[in-house]
């Protein structure tokens, strides 16, 4: 097992690029991402970057394998993990919405989603009785094909929905990328992390 000054967990894809730029701008000495296929970037004794599926970011940070992570609020709402989330990074904006077939007002009996914990909580709050079907991709197909009466999924522009002939019935939560920090690490590595948090927060309030 290699030892690093700091280990960062980032979701792969577009958020990785944006998080990388934001953290670099805040003064972190990030390793260059040389090998596109590598999942772990960085040299021993320096800062390491882990490229993960977005749902795995809170797991790595909660268990202290990574001290810091960047992940969407949508993922945090579903993860149920006890983490610090001191900064709203602002990018990666999207919303979690309830999606149905146009004109469908029948009671929801089955609901498909990538966010089962969030959806189960929603059902409980609303007092709806429905089964939650957990799927891992192209959730809108569940509504199109009748696998479910409704879908809870992430919406960015709404183009995918319109193409599938579905409608966004209600926005349930808004999401942006958050900086998350492990509870122990924030204290043990505070000389590194406290200034980082301050810089990232100031960046929020910038022009």
């Amino acid at each position: 097992m290699r030892r690093y000054l700091l280990t960062l967990a980032l979701p792969k894809g577009r958020m990785f690029q944006e998080a990388y730029a934001a953290l670099k701008a805040a003064g972190l000495d990030l390793p260059p991402v040389e090998d596109e296929r590598a999942l772990l970037h960085g040299r021993e004794g320096g800062i390491a970057l882990l490229e993960l599926r977005n749902k795995d970011v809170p797991v790595y940070v909660d268990l202290g394998i990574a001290e810091v992570g960047v992940v969407g609020k949508d993922v945090l709402l579903d993860s149920g993990r006890d983490l610090y989330e001191p900064v709203d990074l602002g990018f990666g904006a999207c919303r979690l919405s309830l999606i149905r077939r146009p004109g469908d007002t029948s009671p929801i009996r089955r609901i498909a989603t990538k966010y089962p914990t969030f959806t189960a909580r929603l059902l409980k709050e609303r007092g709806w009785v429905a089964d939650v079907v957990e799927l891992s991709g192209n959730i809108e197909l569940a509504a199109v094909t009748g696998l479910a009466d409704a879908v809870v999924d992430v919406v960015q522009t709404g183009a995918t929905l319109r193409a599938a002939g579905l409608v966004e019935v209600e926005v349930l939560a808004h999401s942006t990328a958050r900086l998350i920090v492990n509870r122990q690490a924030l204290k043990l590595k505070r000389s590194l992390l406290k200034p980082l948090i301050a810089k990232l927060r100031n960046r929020d309030r910038g022009p």
Binding site: V59, D62, L63, G64, I65, L83, Y84, E85, P86, V87, D88, V181, N182, R183, Q184, A185, L186, K187, L188, R190, K194, R201, D204
Partner: protein, 359 residues
């Protein structure tokens, strides 16, 4: 063969676990803490703090039982009718069960705690005693640990004095607990709170670090009872005479913890090794305590990978009886005792009354 989240231990881990527990129990004993034993089966009580997460089973009478999920609540309930005024010290050790913990790094559904309760005393001296024992416990095990102290009562008093409706107080507590400043700002902007209240609440999440944090906190426009809690903490730390990490924004269960709350961390391991605090009035008029997670300690200690060899290889039953009183002895079965002793690094051979060094 065994359910998820449970564990079986073989040598050398089982030995290390027994040693860890023994050292802690001995340490607490030497500080005046008497052992108590509690049943693993309790009557299910929906008011119990871990009621939802406990394993339940049905008794032959049809009543619901719960497997023990923590020691403090039942201990306080059982003792209440029996103890009078005065100071009492108790220690406990044993297995606990939680139904829904995820089985992952250092988190189990069946796990072990060693802990203590100091009943009948409150104030800085009593807090310092309990904190001192937390440090001493880590030292007794050779764990390099950092103790972090928080003051949930400070957050509690600040919220109670804020004038926020109860629902918003809870939301604010959750945001402070996650150090989620953007969410806290957004929340406060929706209610008519005074600038003093807003200033205090928004400062809380970032009040972590070393002694300087106390000064920063004292400079805030705090309600009187919060200020009182802060003064008490300062006195406790003076008595303790050891550096601790502070997090005055620790907002965990502030309706239960009436004073300090603390945890210990070790570098390179992501979960707290121990946790406790003061809970005057919750179960007992004056009470504080803490518990160590034995599985986490074992994980942090990284057990040796070899089994420890005995000191003496006995060649007959007589030698085993003769020497087992003073040394670790093992009876030999086989052909070549000398080769066996050399291979395992056993320093002595013995037969009957005789003992000699392996050449």
């Amino acid at each position: 063969m065994i359910p998820e989240g449970t564990r079986f231990l073989l040598p050398p881990e089982a030995r290390l676990k027994a040693e860890v527990m023994g050292r802690l129990q001995d340490l607490f004993w030497r500080h005046g803490y008497e052992p108590v034993e509690l049943p693993a089966l309790e009557n299910y009580d929906p008011q119990h703090p871990l009621a939802e997460r406990a394993f339940k089973l049905v008794d032959r009478t049809g009543e619901v039982l719960a497997l023990r999920s923590e020691f403090t609540t039942l201990l306080a309930k059982l003792l209440r009718p029996h103890l009078g005024e005065g100071v009492y010290r108790f220690q406990y050790a044993g297995s606990l069960w939680l139904r829904e913990a995820d089985a992952e790094l250092g988190r189990f559904r069946e796990y072990t705690q060693v802990g203590l309760e100091l009943l009948g005393a409150t104030g800085p001296l009593a807090d310092a005693e309990v904190l001192h024992l937390a440090f001493a416990a880590l030292e007794a095990l050779g764990v390099e640990g950092v103790v972090e102290v928080g003051l949930p009562s400070l957050v509690g008093e600040a919220l109670r004095a804020s004038g926020l409706p109860e629902e918003a107080q809870r939301a604010a507590q959750r945001a402070i607990h996650r150090k989620n400043l953007p969410e806290l700002e957004e929340l406060l902007s929706r209610y008519p709170v005074s600038p003093e209240v807003a200033k205090t609440l928004l400062a809380l999440p970032d009040l972590y670090g070393e002694a300087e944090v106390l000064e920063e906190a004292k400079a805030l426009p705090l309600p009187p009872r919060a200020r009182q809690a802060l003064v008490q903490l300062e006195k406790t730390l003076e008595l303790l005479e050891r550096p601790v990490l502070l997090d005055l924004g620790m907002a965990r269960r502030y309706e239960y913890y009436s004073g300090i709350f603390f945890r210990a961390y070790t570098p390179g391991f992501g979960l707290p090794l121990l946790g406790g605090g003061r809970y005057d009035g919750a179960l007992w008029p004056k009470a504080a305590g803490f518990a160590l997670g034995v599985e986490r300690l074992l994980e942090a200690l990284k057990p040796p990978s070899t089994q420890e060899a005995p000191q003496v290889l006995a060649l007959d039953l007589k030698a085993l009886k003769r020497f087992a009183g003073e040394k670790r002895v093992e009876l030999f079965y086989g052909e070549d005792p000398l080769a066996h002793a050399r291979a395992r690094g056993i320093p002595y051979l013995a037969r009957g009354e005789e003992i000699w060094e392996v050449g």
